[in-house]
């Protein structure tokens, strides 16, 4: 009797802690949601439960002639898609070479990549700006995508290389004996086996442009080329139009699909990441 009482107390203690965590987690999220439903733009009158719900901000984003929201969405999708595709192609073939070939300068290149991976791209932004300026790529998607693909290359390279290292070499060795060339081995054997980590890289590189406001802020000038994050960030960063409610509405429309994808794939993501990092 005494024992089961103690156990019951413990379990309710656990539930209590979980409940507190639920409140701490859901409170800001609900607040963000209700913020987007508050009419008007003033933060002073914001309420968790507004007196009159309104979808005016959502409507404004899509229908108002001065709203560029759909254009930004399109821009972001273009950048994200090309970035994802280019990153996956480049990263996987380079990772294949680093994982399977022994060549002059290999070890030093790995050291260089490992070191570079630790430096944030932000540190070199002034030079990147001047460089893109010299080659006329400022204010273009090409410039933006180049920075994303190669800025993220060292980090992604290690994820994929680590994963490829865990795939036994016997597989490609025996394929080679059967007369398969390097590219056949790569596309037919390694890519299918490494698909979990390649999916992780694809997802991360696809999602990055949705939330990065910093790189576009430096590279993109014309409003019709803004990506979502930059455009939305300007809603609240603008000194004269501090528009939190509009910002909330705009971000919730990105946050919902991304969160759903994330929750569905999280197990997959974790195992991909953990395998590459711990075994690699």
């Amino acid at each position: 009797m005494k024992r089961s009482l103690k156990s019951a107390l413990e379990v309710s203690g656990i539930y209590l802690i979980v409940l507190i965590m639920f409140v701490l987690i859901l409170y800001p999220l609900l607040w963000a949601f209700s913020m987007s439903l508050n009419p008007g733009t003033s933060l002073f009158s914001l309420k968790m439960f507004p007196d009159n719900w309104s979808l005016e901000h959502y409507k404004w984003l899509f229908t108002d002639p001065s709203s560029n929201y759909t254009l930004w969405y399109k821009n972001t999708l273009i950048v994200a898609f090309i970035n994802g595709l280019a990153s996956v192609c480049i990263v996987s073939i380079v990772a294949y070479v680093f994982s399977r070939f022994r060549f002059i300068g290999r070890k030093n290149s790995i050291y260089t990549f490992l070191l570079l991976q630790m430096f944030p791209v932000l540190m070199g932004m002034v030079a990147i700006y001047l460089l893109l300026n010299t080659v006329n790529l400022l204010d273009t998607f090409t410039g933006l995508i180049l920075i994303y693909v190669f800025g993220g290359l060292p980090m992604n390279l290690f994820l994929v290389k680590g994963y490829l290292d865990t795939i036994p070499r016997d597989l490609d060795e025996s394929a080679k004996i059967d007369g398969a060339g390097y590219l056949t081995i790569f596309f037919r054997i390694l890519i299918p086996l490494a698909s979990p980590i390649i999916a992780v890289v694809a997802l991360f590189t696809f999602m990055a442009p949705f939330f990065d406001f910093l790189t576009p802020q430096i590279i993109i000038r014309s409003p019709e080329k803004f990506t979502l994050a930059l455009g939305l960030y300007n809603f609240i960063n603008d000194k004269f139009a501090n528009n939190f409610t509009m910002f909330a509405a705009g971000t919730i429309l990105i946050a919902i699909p991304i969160s759903i994808v994330f929750l569905l794939l999280q197990r997959f993501l974790i195992s991909g990441l953990a395998d590459g990092a711990t075994k690699g």
Binding site: I25, A255, I258, Q266
Partner: protein, 434 residues
């Protein structure tokens, strides 16, 4: 098919073909290869090599000279462009030098083969060979060149700026830049405004990295163990909700938090603390701002670690705990000697990565309060970490020289940490497994 080709070379084919001579000859690219009777290769090398030298040596020398002077005439010269061109030329120069050395080695290798009497391969054979052996280079070299442009060159540029006098008041194209040696570092360490800022930022960066990350890990570990308890029901639901802060983009949540923590009309002061009759200056008081920002990072960061640890906990065999029960081990002992070692062993590399992630966690600092609130007598704000300070020095104050000097200090910290990592990373210890 020529059957003779498959036979080993008879001893009589050994000749006095001289590898040293071949190497010396290919000081002019291609000549060594011609001496080796690799006609096509030799001509290709000769043409490409001579034209590269003819076309590039003067511009490269000029741009490096330009980088050394940084221009003499403010009307025509833009020091920034001279610096960019100089650095790019140096990078190209180094690459060409590398190719040149490869050319020498190639002549030597072929000559050695010839000396041992190996037949000259046919053109087709040669192409096949170069694909076989050259494949890794074909893949790595172009990518490395792009990396050099987009990642290495900007870092070199930043390093160079630290030794110039480039700031808002002395900026091209109106003015010329000059090399000033270590003057910027001297003022960084000796002038009160800078040294005070540097010390506060550096110490806050360390505190921020250690405290925020450790709290994240401790909270995640604690919750993971609790939820993993066999008596808890609705595990799936609980885990899904606990992961939400990770799933929702932080770009949005940090900015929502900024609104919530607002001193006057934020929800936290209005809905919670107003009941107790206090208003906490979350955004304008340094200490409160730091507390707020650490709490936000813990909120944002614990779910990732929670998911990692949950995965490990589910994998620990029950036998361990049953054996401990037989021996009468207490709950704490089971945690200390079974759970902890398992979890830490499996997740250590990823946890260390969390620390380095927070060290460079520019987004949360900048989005929350732009590094503010400002501190009198200092160039940096109260919540500025190194990376966000560099950012505001660069883009807000246009004080490029100091930004560059600070980022070099940051680079040294990063590099030291990286070296430590190199020794730990398993991919290096097992590097020669194959």
């Amino acid at each position: 098919m020529n059957i003779n080709a498959l036979e080993p070379a008879p001893a009589s084919r050994q000749n006095n073909h001289n590898p040293v001579l071949a190497t010396v000859l290919s000081i002019v690219p291609g000549l060594g290869q011609l001496y080796n009777r690799r006609w096509i290769k030799g001509i290709v090398f000769l043409v490409i090599g001579l034209s590269l030298i003819a076309a590039l040596s003067v511009p490269i020398a000029n741009s490096i000279a330009g980088m050394i002077t940084l221009g003499d005439n403010p009307e025509t010269d833009d020091s920034r462009n001279l610096l960019v061109q100089g650095l790019l030329s140096s990078i190209i120069g180094i690459i060409l030098l590398g190719l040149y050395v490869l050319n020498l080695l190639d002549a030597r290798k072929d000559a050695k083969k010839r000396q041992e009497g190996t037949r000259t391969p046919s053109v087709r054979q040669a192409f096949q060979d170069s694909w076989e052996h050259g494949f890794p280079y074909f893949v790595v070299v172009p990518n490395f060149i792009m990396m050099a442009l987009i990642v290495i060159f900007p870092l070199l540029f930043m390093i160079s700026l630290a030794f110039t006098n480039y700031n808002l008041y002395n900026s091209p194209p109106a003015h010329l830049l000059n090399w000033v040696g270590f003057a910027n570092f001297k003022s960084l360490f000796t002038e009160a405004v800078w040294s005070k800022s540097l010390i506060t930022v550096l110490s806050w960066t360390v505190v921020w990295t250690l405290v925020a990350t450790t709290l994240q890990i401790v909270l995640a570990f604690f919750l993971a163990v609790l939820v993993n308890d066999s008596r808890v029901k609705f595990k799936r639901l609980i885990r899904t909700v606990l992961i939400l802060p990770w799933a929702v983009p932080s770009f949005m949540t940090v900015l929502v938090f900024t609104a919530m923590f607002n001193d006057t009309f934020g929800a936290i002061n209005r809905d919670i603390f107003s009941h107790f009759g206090v208003t906490i200056p979350w955004l304008s008081d340094p200490t409160w701002a730091r507390i707020a920002i650490i709490s936000i990072q813990v909120w944002l960061g614990f779910p990732y670690v929670f998911t990692l640890i949950t995965g490990v906990l589910q994998g620990i065999s029950k036998d361990w705990y049953e054996a401990a029960d037989v021996d009468g081990g207490s709950r704490w002992k089971k945690f200390r000697f079974i759970t902890m070692p398992h979890v830490l062993f499996a997740t250590a590399p990823l946890l260390i990565m969390q620390y380095s992630y927070n060290f460079n966690n520019f987004n949360i600092i900048y989005l929350f309060n732009k590094g503010g609130p400002p501190v009198p007598g200092q160039s940096s704000g109260a919540t500025d970490i190194l990376i966000s300070w560099v950012y505001s020095l660069t883009f807000k104050e246009n004080n490029y020289k100091m930004a560059a000097a600070v980022s070099i200090i940051m680079g040294i910290v990063v590099a030291a940490f990286a070296l430590y990592q190199f020794r730990k990373t398993r991919s290096f210890r097992e590097e020669d497994m194959y």
